[in-house]
C-alpha cells in the first residue's frame, strides 16, 4: 500500500512527514514525537490553532493563557541557537499564532472570521455602502452630531455613547451567534464596523480639540 501523503494537507491527512527525521508525524503535532524537531504550522483554523472552542464567546484570559503557552514553546527566541530550518519553522509557527491571537481577541475581527468560517461572504471593502436604511440614518445623524460638536466635552459625550453602543452591539452579536442567526450577525458586524470607525473619529476630534485648547 502506498499513499501519497505529500499532496494531502490539513486534517484530512492523518499522517504527515516530519521534515527532519522523515518519519510519520501527526498533522497537529508541534514537535515530532520521534526526533523532537519543531514542525511547520499546519492549516488549522484560528480556534484550533490556539486550542479554543470555536464560537463568538471567547474567554479572553483563557485565550491569552493559551497564546502565551504556545508562544513559550514556539517563539523564535526558543530557537536562537538551532539550525536554519528550525528557526524558519518556529518563525512560521509564531506568525500563525500571532495572526490567530490578533483575530480572536478582537470582537469585530473575531465575528468577521467566524462568519467566513461559516461560509458567509462578507464585503470587506472599507467603503461598503450601508443598505440598511435604519443603520444609514443612525450613522448619518451620529456623524453630523460629531461634526457639530465643537468642545472636547461634547465630543467626549458622543464618544461615551458610542462606546456603550459598541458594548451593546458586541452583546447582540454574541446572542446572534448563539442563536445561529448568521443574517443577524452579518448586520451587526456592519453596525459594529461603523460604530468603531465613529469612535475612532471621535477620539481623533477630541485630541485635536484638546490640542487646540
Amino acid at each position: 500500500m502506498k499513499i501519497d501523503v505529500h499532496h494531502t494537507d490539513g486534517l484530512e491527512a492523518c499522517v504527515v512527514e516530519c521534515w527532519s527525521c522523515k518519519g510519520p508525524a501527526s498533522p497537529r503535532a508541534l514537535f515530532c514525537s520521534v526526533c523532537g524537531a519543531v514542525q511547520p504550522p499546519r492549516p488549522l483554523d484560528h480556534f484550533q490553532r490556539l486550542g479554543m472552542m470555536p464560537g463568538f464567546d471567547v474567554d479572553l484570559s483563557e485565550l491569552e493563557r493559551h497564546y502565551f503557552g504556545f508562544q513559550r514553546r514556539l517563539h523564535p527566541d526558543r530557537f536562537a541557537g538551532k539550525s536554519g530550518k528550525e528557526k524558519l519553522h518556529s518563525q512560521q509557527q509564531a506568525m500563525a499564532l500571532n495572526e490567530a491571537y490578533e483575530t480572536l481577541k478582537d470582537p469585530l475581527k473575531r465575528a468577521v472570521y467566524l462568519l467566513k468560517l461559516k461560509g458567509c461572504k462578507l464585503d470587506d471593502a472599507d467603503g461598503a455602502t450601508i443598505s440598511d436604511p435604519k443603520l444609514l440614518m443612525e450613522q448619518m445623524e451620529a456623524r453630523e452630531a460629531l461634526m457639530e460638536a465643537d468642545s472636547a466635552e461634547e465630543v467626549q459625550a458622543i464618544l461615551a455613547r458610542t462606546e456603550s453602543d459598541i458594548a451593546f452591539a458586541v452583546d447582540d452579536l454574541s446572542q446572534a451567534f448563539q442563536a445561529a442567526c448568521l443574517m443577524g450577525a452579518e448586520k451587526l458586524v456592519l453596525r459594529l464596523k461603523y460604530l468603531i470607525r465613529l469612535s475612532d473619529e471621535a477620539r481623533g476630534r477630541k485630541a485635536r480639540l484638546m490640542k487646540g485648547a
Binding site: 499513499i3 501523503v5 503535532a29 526526533c35 517563539h75 526558543r78 536562537a80 538551532k82 528550525e86 500571532n98
Partner: protein
Amino acid sequence: MSDEILFDIFEPGESPLPHANDEVAVGIDLGTTNSVVAISKDGRPEVLRDAKARALIPSVVAYGQDGSVIVGHEAREQILDRPQDVVSSIKRLMGRGLEDVKAVAGQLPFVVDQDATGMVRLIVAGRTLSPVEISADILRAVRDQAERALGKKVPKAVITVPAYFDDAARTATKDAARLAGIEVLRLVNEPTAAALAYGLDQGAEGLYAVYDLGGGTFDVSLLRMEKGVFQVKATGGDAALGGDDIDHLIAEKFLAERGEAKLDAGKVKQALMTARVAKECLTSRDGGEWMLEFEGRTSRHQLTRAELETMIAPLVLRTMTICRQVLEDGGAQPADVKGVVLVGGSTRVPAVRKAVADLFGTLPLANINPDEVVAVGAAQQAEALTHGSDTLLLDVTPLSLGLETMGGIVEKVIFRNTPIPTAMAQEFTTYQDGQTAMMIHVVQGERELVSQNRSLARFTLSGIPPMAAGAARIRVTFTVDADGLLTVSARETATGVESEVQVKPSYGLSEDEMADMLKDSLEHAKEDMAARVLAEAKVEARRNALAVIAALSHDGDLLSPEERLVIDQALAGLDCACTGNDRDVVLAASEELEAATKPFAEKRMDRGIRKALAGVSMDNLEKRVGE
C-alpha cells in the same frame, strides 16, 4: 501504547539541546552618545567596565590620516583638537538617505556625500565612510572592552535599537555588527530591554510604561509584564529627538549671546560640549555661569534651570504627545499604568521627570542606572537565547508598512503595533490590458501619502502573463521577523506562473559592498565568516544525525542488519566529517546520510500510515493539542 507513540507531543525542553552553548554572548547598548556592554551569567547581569572601571564607552570615533582608528574616551578628548576627524552621534545617520540628514548636516563638520543607493557617506580624514562602517568601529571597541573584562572571545551579542528605528536603520545596525564580526543573536528594542531588566530584577508586574529619552532618539513603550511574559502593547517615538537637541538649544543660545559671526566645526563642538556640561549641572543646581573661550576671546553665559525648562518645554511636550498616543494605541488610561521606567541619560533632567510623573500620576522608577539598564536587559536576553529561559518577550512593529497605490496613496499591509514575527499578504491586480510588469513601492510610516512616509524599497515584478486588466492576481507578502526586519516577496497567482522577488530595503549595504568591506577590514573578519559558515553546517549536520538516531531507536526494528549497517556507516562518516574543518566534506556526508536513510524513511511512513488507518482516535489528539 502504539497510538500514544504516534501522537505524543514533544516538549522542546525534553529534547537534548544541541551542544549546550558554552560560547559567550553579551548584550550591547549601541547608543547615540555612549555605548554599554553587559553579560548575564546564571541570571545575574553585570556591566563590563574598562580598566578604569568606566562602563560608558563614548560612541565617538577619531580617524587619523595614517588610517588609525580610536574609539571612546580618547576619541572624545580629541574632538576639540581635530573636530574634522572625530565623528560622534553617528547613530542619528543609521539607515538615513542624504535627504533625511540635511537637517542635521549643518552640525556635521564633514563633507556629506551619498552613494548610488542614496546612502549617506562621510568624508573623514581622507576616507569615505558609511555610518555602518563607523558603527562597526564602535562595536569592535565595545567587544574589545568585553573581551578584556572577561578574558575570552565574545563572538555573539544581542544588540539594542530604538523601538522607533525603521527597517533601514535596523538593517544598518545588523550590517554594522556583521562588519565588526559579531553574530547578532537578536535585535531587541531598547525600551523592551529596559523592561526586561526591571521585570527580572524588581519583579515588576502589571502594565508599565518605559520612557526612553536617549542622546538622539525618543521611545516610549507600553508593556504588560507578568509571570515571565513581557508583552509590548504599543510603542511609539521619534527617531530624531533626544538629549542632543537640548545641547543644541543651549549651544545656540550661548553662541548667539557671544555674537559669533562665523561659525566653524571647532566652535560648534566646543559650544556643544559646554552646553552638555551646563545641562548636566542644571539637573542638580538652580543656575550657573559657563564660559566659552576661542580665538582669544572669552564670553560668559548665564543659565538658570527655569530658563532651561522654558527652552526645552516644546521638546518635552512633544514626548508627552507621543506618550498619549501610545496609551491610546494600547487601549489604556494613564491611571492603568502601574509604573514608568526611565531610560537614557536625558531623563535625569528634572523637567522631564516632572512631566512624566504628571502625565502618569506616578513617580517614575529609576532605581536601575538609566545609562546601563538597556545593556543589562540585552545581556539577560542574550543569556536567555543561548542558555534557555522561562521568560518570553513579545514585541511589536513600531511603524506601519504599506505599498504605494494609484495616486500616491499608501495602502497599509501591516499596521503599527502588530505583534512580531508577522506575515501579511495583500492582493493587487493589473490596471491595463496586457500589462506584464508592475512597480512595487514599499513604504513605512503612518501618513496617508507615499511622499510623507519613508520609502524602503522599490522593485519591479516582471513576467506577468499578459491578461485583461484586472485579471492578474499579484500577491505581495510582507514578513517582519523577530528582529523587526522586513522581507517583501511578490508572486502572480492567477495563472500559476510564479515570479518571486525578495527585497532587501534600500539604504542598506548591498551584498557586494558588504563583501568588499569585509575583505578590506581586518583579515580575521574573513576567517570569522568562514568559521561561522562551517559552524552552521556542523549544527545542521549534527541535528540531522540526532534525528536519524532518534528514528533508529524508535523504528529500528524495520531494518535488516544489512540495512542498519548502511545507515550506521553513514552516521559514522558524518561524525568523522564533523571533527574536520571542511564545510564541503560536512555537506557531502550529510547528503550521504540522507540518501542512506531514504528507504528507512519510506518504511517508517508506511508503518505510520498503516497505524493511522487502523483507527487512531483523532479525539484523543485534539484533546491533547488544546491543553
